[in-house]
């Protein structure tokens, strides 16, 4: 039996931030669902690793760093016509509010908000997204639903994405292009393991999730593949919460 409304066979999907974490899992799931997957990221070695884990044929890899001026262009210039894009590239930089400054604000907003907004704009304007295409943003529960200690800048960047999704969905509806986002709670990746927050704090935080643990990257990826597939063809402007029940309490 071949019935599968969630299939991505015949589709080409671009996944940014595919060198690690949620982006990596999404790239792999897309390939498993039959998509030709174009992955981008800033770390070559890790991107190669993701690439080696993709199933099937015809995938492509583009090196791009959104902290650089040329980041967005280097993707668009190397892009063929696609059916979907998933914006996963993101940084956190937790910092107590009284210590935020121009450079942190610029850096985080650039990578988490400006780059995905402009990349989408250039893809659409360049007519590189097919009719019935799907744009998916990985936002966060931090921003419009809650935040965390030292999370003001990150939350601002993610909250901005949720507003962007609403406006884009409306403007792109005539083209049949759908725009949605996922709001994950904390996912078990190395995202926050590079310093300022200790493992102890993370272990403590985990206990606050009604479902008893942090999410796994593939648990976000399953929802993304749904949003990329024709199964969600009548869905646009939605923010899907996947947080183990965290924001219920």
């Amino acid at each position: 039996m071949n019935y599968n409304p969630f299939s991505l066979a015949g589709k080409t999907i671009l996944v940014t931030g595919a060198s690690s974490g949620i982006g990596k899992a999404i790239a792999i799931e897309c390939s498993k669902m039959g998509a030709k997957t174009i992955i981008s990221g800033r770390k070559k070695e890790r991107l190669d690793d993701t690439f080696s884990l993709l199933q099937g044929e015809g995938h492509k890899l583009i090196l791009a760093d959104f902290q650089e001026e040329e980041g967005v262009n280097s993707i668009v210039n190397n892009l063929e016509t696609i059916d979907g894009v998933v914006h996963c590239a993101g940084i956190a930089k937790p910092l107590p509010f009284q210590f935020i400054n121009d450079s942190v604000l610029s850096e985080v907003l650039k990578v988490n908000f400006m780059a995905p907004a402009l990349l989408s704009q250039q893809i659409v304007k360049g007519k590189k997204l097919n009719r019935n295409g799907s744009i998916v943003f990985i936002s966060s529960i931090s921003g419009i639903l809650c935040s965390f200690v030292g999370g003001a800048v990150y939350s601002a960047s993610k909250g901005a994405i949720n507003g962007l999704v609403k406006g884009m969905a409306l403007d792109l509806a005539p083209k049949g292009i759908r725009v949605n986002s996922i709001l994950p709670g904390m996912i078990d990746t190395n995202f926050l393991k590079d310093g300022i927050i200790t493992q102890e704090q993370l272990d403590q935080d985990k206990k606050r999730y009604p479902l008893g643990r942090y999410g796994r990257p593939e648990e976000v990826a399953y929802a993304v593949t749904y949003l990329l597939s024709d199964a969600s063809i009548w869905m646009t402007g939605s923010n899907i919460v996947i947080d183990g029940g965290y924001t219920l309490i």
């Binding site: 937790p94 910092l95 107590p96 300022i196 200790t198 102890e200 704090q201």
Partner: protein, 76 residues
């Protein structure tokens, strides 16, 4: 002198704490106002004032304010 200055910068991160309680030998976890936000503020203050990037783990392994100061000195 540098240590005194660090203790002052450390104390600056607190609002309610009696400054008499904050000296080089203070076990900072015993301060009532100590929290994960305070730890994050200390890390941010050290980055700003000393251009050294401490990790949460550096704080976790330290007991006194001077311990943190020594980590900074060792990284200079």
């Amino acid at each position: 002198m540098e240590l005194d200055n660090f203790v002052k910068n450390f104390a600056d991160q607190f609002e309610e704490t009696d400054l008499q309680l904050v000296h080089a030998g203070t076990k900072f976890r015993d301060l009532e106002e100590w929290s994960s936000l305070a730890a994050m503020s200390i890390i941010a203050m050290v980055d700003e004032a000393y251009k050294i990037k401490l990790t949460g783990d550096d704080i976790r392994k330290s007991n006194t304010i001077e311990d943190i100061f020594n980590v900074i000195i060792s990284r200079k």
